[in-house]
Amino acid sequence: MVGIIRERWPGRATFIFAAIGSAIGLGNIWRFPYMTYDNGGAAFLIAWIIGLIVIGVPWMMMEFGMGRYFQRSAPGVFEGIGKKWEWVGWWPVFMAFLIVTYYTVILAWVLRYIISSATVAWGVGASGAAGAGDFFFGNILQISEGPTALGSLVWPTVIALALTWIAIYLIVFKGAKVIGKVSVWVVSLAWVFLLILVIRGLTLPGVTQGLNFYLDPNLSALGDVTVWFAAFSQIAFTLSLGMAGMFAYGSFIAKKADVTNSAFITSFSNCATSFFAGFAVFSVVGFIMQAMNIPVGDVSASGLGLAFITFPVGVSMMPGANAFIGVIFFLSLFFLGLSSAYFLAYGGVISPIMDKFGLSRVKSTAIVCVIAFLIGLLYCTQGGLYWLDQVDRMACFYGLLITGVLATVVVGWRFGAGKLRENLNETSDIKVGAWWDWLIKLIVPAALLFVVIQGGFMKDIAAPYEGYSTAWIIWALLGATLILSFVFQAVKTKGPKGGE
């Protein structure tokens, strides 16, 4: 199968931390808690746990397992199944690349907020709270009227983006060994910061009100298809699957090492982090509701609005330690996001390029970091947020889900789910039964198709995404990356089998 020694994780713990670091990200804080609140609390959590077990864990086992089996990153895995399938591995590589170009810009904003939080630059008290939105859109983004008005580069963001890419380069240019060791620190610190935020949040007035909104059960919501859609989509997006990187991370596992238990630990740790982060978010939401005497519907509790407006409002209104909590919150966001960013860069893009073109790690890393930084400058313009939103819709929604469907179908039906299961069971701590085959062959692709049709095509074909006049870019990029995947497939593989 392979003739050259593949790079290896320095130990099991470092692999687990690297995998958890890749899975946990900004969405654990700014997507999950709000979706729980918005979809019936406990009802959503039941659907989410079911989704985790029948979609997330099997999908992760498949990506780790195939990477380990072929000892190659995603394109090499599908090339191993059959040359004509290599494009199935390249398509998510392009998605990972596009995602990391804008994900790092969000980290650049976070980096700027770490500095701004040290002085609570948007202001303390009621006036600061009222100005938090203007600070984000006016000072940080200097936002223009629309996507066609790009305006000029926002230089503080450009500098922060450059620093982010330098950090990513330094972490990944020596490969899995350093990534694993850095991940232990990054993930541990992110958890410590979250713990501080939860403790502070639970001591704020209004916390009970917020937590009731977060956790109050509405079990009748289980009969609502939108709740299942929300739960499945959250599982699809939260584990960093469908982005090529987990194949590469799996390829760095020794051929006789466990896969299934590592997939369980990674998935459940990621979801436990999400659940825990909800306490930090909704305690602050409850506090803002009480401090400003507004209903929960008036508090933006998800996405950019939560991170860059709602939480700063909470920081302004806190009775003490405002700057400290602000810095800790943005540090936690930065660390959670950084581990996902270097995962996307290395596992998603650099490792496949090394495998395909036989380039050295240092050269591949430098090329990817520089090109991604240059593309990221688009999102550093005054109109950058609009483009970020559209590319995110293309890559992190359509790209992730469609390539996930393709990968599970090709592995399940062409390579053989049963064959992979037998390979996994030979060395794994937890054996999986024949039921797993049908999850990979039918349930996972069907669930992902359900999400992409229900939440994507049904909406975006009826009307342009978010009303953007430039929403055609979503379909254009999907088509262009698909064509590029076939082009890369046609290029002769120069890298040695094993990728070193």
Binding site: G11, G41, A42, L45, L215, K256, T260, N261, E426, D429
Partner: protein
């Protein structure tokens, strides 16, 4: 907190602690980490 919210909290803690506890109890029962 409401009774429902407290029950949800306890149930989720049981799920996560139970699942991760089971996984960690199985560590090392399968293959070898080194080549």
């Amino acid at each position: 907190m409401t009774t429902g919210a407290i029950i949800t909290l306890i149930a989720m803690c049981v799920v996560f602690i139970g699942a991760l506890g089971f996984c960690f109890s199985r560590l090392g029962k399968g293959g070898e980490w080194e080549d």
